[in-house]
Amino acid sequence: MKAVFPSLIVLLAAPAVQAADLSVTVNDAGGKPVSFAVVTWTPKAGAAIPAAVKSAQYVMTQKNVQFAPFVLAVPVGATVSFPNQDRVNHHVYSFSPAMPFQLPLYGKGQTRTVTFTKAGTDALGCNIHDSMSAYIHIVNTPYFATTGADGKIVLKGVPEGAGALKVWHPLMDAPDHEVAKALTAGKTNAPQTFAVKVRARLTPNGSY
């Protein structure tokens, strides 16, 4: 939903440019849908990120001693809030070069914010709970979305012209965990499908 919202704004804000939707499906090698894949369209000429997209609400919750969602895509300049809905305190940090930060201990009902000013990926951790892990993928385009359980997304209002269609997933077995296709977007766009190799991970069990 978060991904649709900024794209709609793009559609309204740029009526002069011919634009069409681009639907993308991300499957694994066995044909099963891949969730938490970030799909981006970057026009060759570049695309400014509208203020409304930057200032949209981006949320990384801590609940049941887990981050939710596992992957959050945000545009450069976005501010992400980190509400703690657990009974226990968390100490969120990232040492990723894109945006190293730490949010010292805070408890239930409290929240903190971080603004991401550089494209890249932030791997998140909690210094209290080693099993907590999530990713914030910071993109330099207003055309982005994250796949759900069905592995599908629709990028709304993609402008005509050449560009790159990329799929990123934190556990993708590919250089920089990303694959790309060069495409030219037109008045209508054929649906695109990616078959990617995503590794399984150990799922934490929590404690009883």
């Binding site: 100490h91 940090y93 040492f95 201990l105 150990l202 404690s207 009883y208």
Partner: protein, 427 residues
């Protein structure tokens, strides 16, 4: 680094060396709900077979002999106060009313109350792909894959494997442990090193009683009973063994490496050596030169399935040199288990485990034969009923061969079955 952060680090270091952690007051949190856990674990048990090991027998399960009854297995309080933003303490106090008691007049009465673990941990916030932590105090060396519950408890079965039952009863140390974790590409690597005192008696029970499967864990006050009527026992040996005895003044150590490849598998390898002096006896407690290797593998074939396996091989020796360079009491010990757990949506777990274990006696077998061979099958079902109540049911069946049983007038071959239903009431 801000001045406040630098101050906090200095204070964290001070806390580790035992000084007060008074600044950083904003981060101190002692008695919030998340700092305290407590439970009472009540069992209905039914067992057959030989006399229990806690009554001086060679029994292989927690409740031995023809036992039917209700027991309080353990009442425990885990206190985890936060002393600064990167410093926590961790204390497990337990009450085990039917703890092993010794019938020997020379022994201290075993305390039902005891402190299992008590340590201070410093874990700075990572600023690079290399993370580290330090802990100092009393703890179980990180060997068990099964004890991932709060307060060093198991989460898949009531009864741990033979390997981890032994860790829980005879491998408790007081020392300093450092841990480094690094990310190398898609592979996670970890290194743990520790030096410790105490635990000089480690493997006394393993030698004279043999392997067992039970969930009675050691505390600083624990005294474990030796089987009665052992023919070869030295006269200066007390009829109980104290896992936390310091006999020889030597430091022991252990090392562990961890490997987390980019597949749902985790591998760890440990080496432990208490560097015990086998020729020293103090207050009825001998030093045992005990060492072992342990290999652990955890595999998740699917998100609701887990396969755990550990293999341990070790040796211990005590006493003077007798024949062919072997010491009076010298054994090699091995054990392996394979455990599979299926997790369900409602939080319940169904687990099956197979254990095999053996002891090879290397000296004086005519007088004191500690040879052993056996295997066990365990089936367990655990389920949370409410937020404060867990239920579990388990069957353990053990078959074993141990010639030393003849001294108690028993057949060397014994089989034992124990059925338990558990209710765990917790905060």
């Amino acid at each position: 680094m801000t001045p406040t952060r630098r101050l906090c680090l200095a204070v964290s270091a001070a806390a580790l060396t035992g000084l007060a952690a008074l600044p950083c007051l904003a981060e101190v949190q002692l008695f919030q709900p998340e700092n305290v856990k407590a439970w009472a674990d009540v069992r209905l048990s039914l067992s057959d077979g030989e006399r229990g090991w806690r009554d001086g027998g060679f029994g292989k399960t927690r409740y031995g002999g023809d036992d039917v009854g209700a027991h309080l297995a353990q009442a425990a309080v885990v206190w985890q106060p936060r002393l600064a933003d990167t410093v926590t303490a961790h204390i497990i106090a337990q009450y085990v009313p039917d703890s092993p008691r010794s019938d020997s007049p020379s022994s201290d009465a075993n305390e039902a109350f005891g402190i299992e673990e008590a340590f201070v941990k410093w874990k700075p916030v990572p600023t690079s792909a290399i993370r580290y932590s330090l802990r100092a105090g009393q703890f179980f060396p990180p060997v068990s894959l099964e004890h991932d519950g709060a307060g060093w408890t198991t989460t898949r079965t009531l009864t741990p494997s033979a390997i981890n039952s032994w860790i829980g009863e005879e491998v408790l140390v007081q020392g300093l442990e450092g841990n480094v974790q690094a990310q190398m590409g898609d592979h996670g690597l970890g290194l743990t090193l520790a030096g410790f005192t105490k635990n000089d008696t480690s493997a006394t029970i393993l030698t004279w009683r043999g392997w067992a499967l039970h969930d009675v864990t050691a505390a600083e006050s624990t005294a474990l009973p030796l089987p009665s009527d052992l023919p070869g026992l030295p006269r200066s040996q007390a009829m109980i063994s104290k896992p936390l005895a310091e006999v020889d003044g030597r430091l022991g150590y252990y090392a562990r490496i961890d490997w987390r490849p980019p597949v749902p598998i985790r591998v760890d390898l440990e080496f432990y050596d208490n560097q015990g002096n086998p020729e020293i006896v103090r207050n009825g407690q001998y030093g045992w030169a005990t060492r072992f290797y342990n290999l652990g593998i955890l595999y998740q074939p699917a998100s609701d399935w887990e396969i755990l396996s550990q293999y341990m091989t070790g040796a211990t020796a005590m006493g003077g040199t007798v024949d062919k360079g072997a010491r009076a009491f010298e054994i090699r010990y091995d054990s392996i288990y394979l455990l599979a757990t299926r997790r369900f949506e409602d939080g319940s777990r169904l687990s099956g485990r197979f254990d095999a274990f053996a002891v090879k006696d290397l000296s004086w077998r005519k007088r004191d034969d500690n040879t052993e061979k056996g295997h066990a099958a365990t089936l367990a079902w655990m389920r949370p009923l409410t937020e404060h109540l867990d239920m579990a049911a388990e069957v353990v069946h053990v078959q074993s061969f141990r010639p030393a049983r003849v001294a108690q007038g028993l057949d060397p071959r014994q089989s034992q079955t124990q059925v338990q239903v558990a209710l765990k009431i917790h905060l």
